[in-house]
Symmetry: C2
């Protein structure tokens, strides 16, 4: 096989399977190439990723060894993306009755999900995440996108406790709208003692995220982080301290039609 063709195949194989350890021996066989030439190709790919700041290749030595593509997001690209989002989301037409902000369309766009998911995957790439957890409905797309880049399953907490998937854990909590709500998760959907990353679209006081953290105690899980697309600046005192939000909603004024969205300074 020609080197150029081999490089296309290698790049494709790696990019399509982020965070998955791929066996060098298997790849060498599939590409009908010597491991030594493979190593040279991988060095070129690693080089490009490093130069771009768009991730890295991690190599594991030994018989069971292999190589893993760890996706990353170049800092400038993250900053540009969040700036673009801030501008987009300050359109006065987005103000909903009650001072809410319409963001579902944005969180349905593949390019937005891809970039936001990659940022979260990058931020938590060293946390050995085993599951991404979210609660229905609006957080699901971003959770799926994040989980894709981390190569872990997504688990969706339901708001409807009538859902029958065997025995379930249900908890009551108070959400941003001050109503008492229920969320539930079937036992079988998450093994005990898993390492879990919580992802959601929006956070106000943090009641929903806090409820997910509480629920995780019932599963003896380790919550390694909480990531939300957007958090409000008020109340400043949230029900949880440790979370990352990509954007801060500083103001929505229904009367003056003023919206202020501040991009976060994302650092690992």
């Amino acid at each position: 096989m020609r080197r150029s063709e081999r490089i296309v195949r290698l790049t494709k194989t790696l990019l399509e399977q982020p965070h998955r350890l791929l066996s060098l021996t298997e790849m060498a066989e599939k590409l009908e190439s010597a491991k030594s030439s493979l190593s040279e190709d991988l060095a070129i790919i690693r080089d490009v990723l490093l130069k771009e700041g768009s991730g890295s290749l991690e190599t594991q030595a030994g018989a069971a060894g292999g190589v893993k593509y760890v996706p990353g997001m170049p800092k400038q690209q993250s900053a540009d993306f969040l700036m673009e989002m801030s501008r987009l989301l300050t359109d006065p037409d987005r103000i909903l009755p009650g001072g809410y902000l319409y963001i579902s369309d944005v969180l349905g766009r593949p390019d937005v999900l891809d970039r936001a998911g990659k940022i979260f995957a990058d931020l938590f790439s060293a946390s050995a995440v085993q599951y991404v957890l979210t609660v229905e409905t609006k957080g699901i797309p971003l959770a799926i996108s994040t989980a894709r880049y981390l190569h872990v399953p997504t688990v969706v907490v339901r708001r409807d406790h009538r859902v029958t998937e065997g025995s379930a854990v249900s908890i009551n909590y108070v959400s941003g709208s001050k109503r008492i709500q229920t969320m539930s998760l079937s036992r079988r959907s998450l093994p005990e003692q898993s390492r879990v990353l919580i992802v959601d679209d929006f956070m106000k006081a943090g009641g929903t995220a806090k409820a997910m953290i509480d629920m995780m105690k019932e599963f003896r899980a380790d919550v390694v982080g909480v990531g939300v697309f957007m958090a409000t600046s008020e109340p400043a005192e949230k029900m949880l301290k440790d979370y990352v939000s990509l954007l801060t909603l500083a103001e929505v004024d229904e009367v003056s039609k003023e919206i202020r969205v501040v991009p976060s300074n994302i650092t690992k």
Copy 2:
């Protein structure tokens, strides 16, 4: 820039943006290369995709011209994937009370979503899909994954008509459980006369899918197809004729613990 490095970058750029027309001029500038060498590189990438059966590169000539990666799924890989799913889903432990089958965990796995989404994107790649439509909750992950490969937004119909995102269209329908249910979609989430692909996880009589099709009439949309992960063999007469299901659930017997899942013969 060395050719091998250029090929890595090109492959990466294309794979990360399926179904997006990328300008050759911009790429040539970014890679500091002549368009002619770029064309040679693209020919190599196209060749690999063709050989693997994993998609194609479509070129558009002219000043506004460019190149687009159209992802595809090799036939054998589709067949293997569906066979693997059939085996996995016939585990007697998956039988839920009422003769339902537990599949949420599978539809939360990134590798499953990736392959199923790619199959749908492949099947409908020539349908000029503008939006993927689904209804909460379990269909969302697959819809997101399909939409990623088609590079179009996902729109989620809500089951809760209290959702306030401006004026909405609500319709009542009878679901598989024979209950009368409501689904609603805000006007602003989907422009009129869009070309829509409906994606869902499961279909029994087709009541939910039929309701989405009816709702699309209210948006004067063109439903170009319906794709579900799994459909039951009974009732054989569904409420809609035109749909693609990846798997057929032929039997779930709560007493004998027998499950039969038949992979579909996917052809364009």
